[in-house]
């Protein structure tokens, strides 16, 4: 049996498959279908200081092999999260990563501090939510990214994963995050997209644009992860369009230490545990004991010994 585990900063995940923020709630919903302890970890929906109700419907729009969303950070706020959700999440039997979003760097730091409690294994800084009316993306500027990570680094001893947008100067932002002590880079969030309802001639979302996710963006996210894994020394967590174990493997070959499944959960609710099994089988069939030879092999001429 190969050892699927991966180390991200101070955390050892039992396998490299996590579920992505905003697509898995707080874990209880999918727990009706399978045991989340089979996963490497669960990333929560973004948590903010105050409860937020998010954007009005419609919030979803399908595009070819993709999904546009305009959820807009609906969440119960950090207090209710700590009180209601975290205790349940501790029972999931897998790493709990809390995704946070703030209006200012100071808000991120306050969230990081308040979430520094037993049961939270890492904090993912959502520097890249495209769906907040009137807000730019902090993570598309290296200076903004640096400031958020710096303040959070002071506020908590927990691992900090910097989740970047896929657009803008991402490599520079990643280096800035690394320089300020981020533990890992989560790449990436959704791409900004648009759909127009041709019956009305209006954008389908009240907030005009939405975030594009799903298989459509996989080649773009993969390119980014390939470049990021060369640009920084901290682990990169690959996200974007992963819907099968072959996709996950591509990200690992591109240099990712772990992956997150988002829209894949909607395409197949059992997607994430299937990924774990598929990856395990791949390693076992190749007689590999760990991720060493495979991770990043696309930078080194491929799998050793492959034709």
């Amino acid at each position: 049996m190969p050892d699927l585990s991966v180390r991200i900063g101070s955390l050892t995940l039992k396998n490299p498959v996590l579920v992505a923020s905003g697509t898995f709630g707080f874990g209880a919903d999918y727990a009706r279908l399978y045991d989340p302890s089979r996963l490497g970890g669960v990333v929560t929906k973004a948590i903010t200081l105050e409860p937020r109700r998010g954007n009005p419907p419609p919030r979803l729009w399908e595009t070819p092999c993709g999904l546009l969303n305009s959820i807009g950070l609906e969440n119960p706020g950090v207090e209710a999260f700590l009180r209601e959700e975290l205790p349940r999440m501790r029972a999931l039997g897998t790493a709990v990563v809390v995704n946070v979003w703030g209006e200012t760097p100071e808000e991120y730091a306050e969230l990081a501090q308040r979430l520094s409690v037993p049961g939270v294994d890492a904090i993912e800084l959502n520097l890249s939510c495209p769906n907040v009316p009137g807000k730019g993306l902090i993570g598309s500027s290296p200076a903004g990214t640096a400031r958020v990570v710096r303040l959070c680094r002071r506020a908590t001893g927990l691992d900090l994963w910097a989740k970047l947008p896929p657009e803008g100067d991402v490599l520079a932002a990643a280096r800035a995050a690394e320089g300020e002590g981020a533990t890992a880079i989560s790449a990436a969030n959704t791409f900004r997209g648009l759909a127009i309802d041709i019956r009305t001639g209006r954008p389908v979302f009240a907030n005009v644009t939405g975030g594009l996710s799903g298989p459509a963006i996989k080649p773009l996210a993969l390119r980014l992860v390939y470049e990021l894994s060369r640009a920084v020394r901290i682990p990169v967590i690959g996200i974007g369009g992963i819907a099968g174990w072959e996709d996950a493997l591509e990200f690992i070959m591109a240099g990712a230490h772990a992956v997150q499944v988002g829209t894949g959960n909607f395409i197949d609710p059992l997607c994430a545990p299937k990924l774990v099994r598929g990856l395990e089988k791949f390693l076992a069939e190749r007689g590999m004991e760990s991720w060493e030879e495979v991770r990043g092999c696309a930078h080194r001429g491929g799998i050793p010994g492959a034709a």
Binding site: G25, P57, N69, I71, P215, F266, P269
Partner: protein
Amino acid sequence: MDAVALRWAVVRGNAEVAPGVFLLRAEGAFRARPGQFYMVRAWERDPLLFRPLSAFDLSPGEISFLYGVRGRGTRLLSRLSPGEELELLGPLGNGWPEPPGRLALVGGGLGIAALYLAAKAFGGADVYLGFPGRPFLVEAFREVAAGLRVASESGEGGERGLVTDIFSPEGYDACYACGPRPMLAAIWEACRRAGVALFVSLEERMACGLGACLGCTVFTKDGPKRVCRDGPVFRAEEVFDA
């Protein structure tokens, strides 16, 4: 928490019961309460998502769905032939509550899909159906309804007009309604005046169907609610401005 399963089911029939309206029957032992729904798919990645459909009917060894062809997903469903398979995630949602007494079921168009199982399960309900075009499945409803009234644009198969023209809440303890928003709003108006409890089944676009993605949220008086998990059935006063 109710158990939810992801299953394959073999299609037994997929008959066009009215132009663009299909009754899809699939094999298997399913349990759903009236008003619950399934996430359905019969394709790989295009479209990406499952489609929510109410459980129309259940019998030992069979489940059926009544759906209208709207876009790509329902068009693909309409091409299924017996022997082919579909994927079902469910049962999902809260379903209609146990009725408190005399019950009226009011359906408009394809909204009737959420009511048949209710009529069957909650014996003694009066059923009011409205159709924009030619009525369909009226006979099936007649068999399970205590009383049945039908309205259609042409008057064919019943009375001429809208379902809101033939339905009055007087004398009922509760009314369960499913159909287009303007119809629900009109029925709410009538029920509110008459002091009759109204429950409505809502529709929103869905990605997960399980309550995880917050894609189907509606704003209610009690805060944001997920149609797939907290609904699809809501007390009308929660979702409509009183």
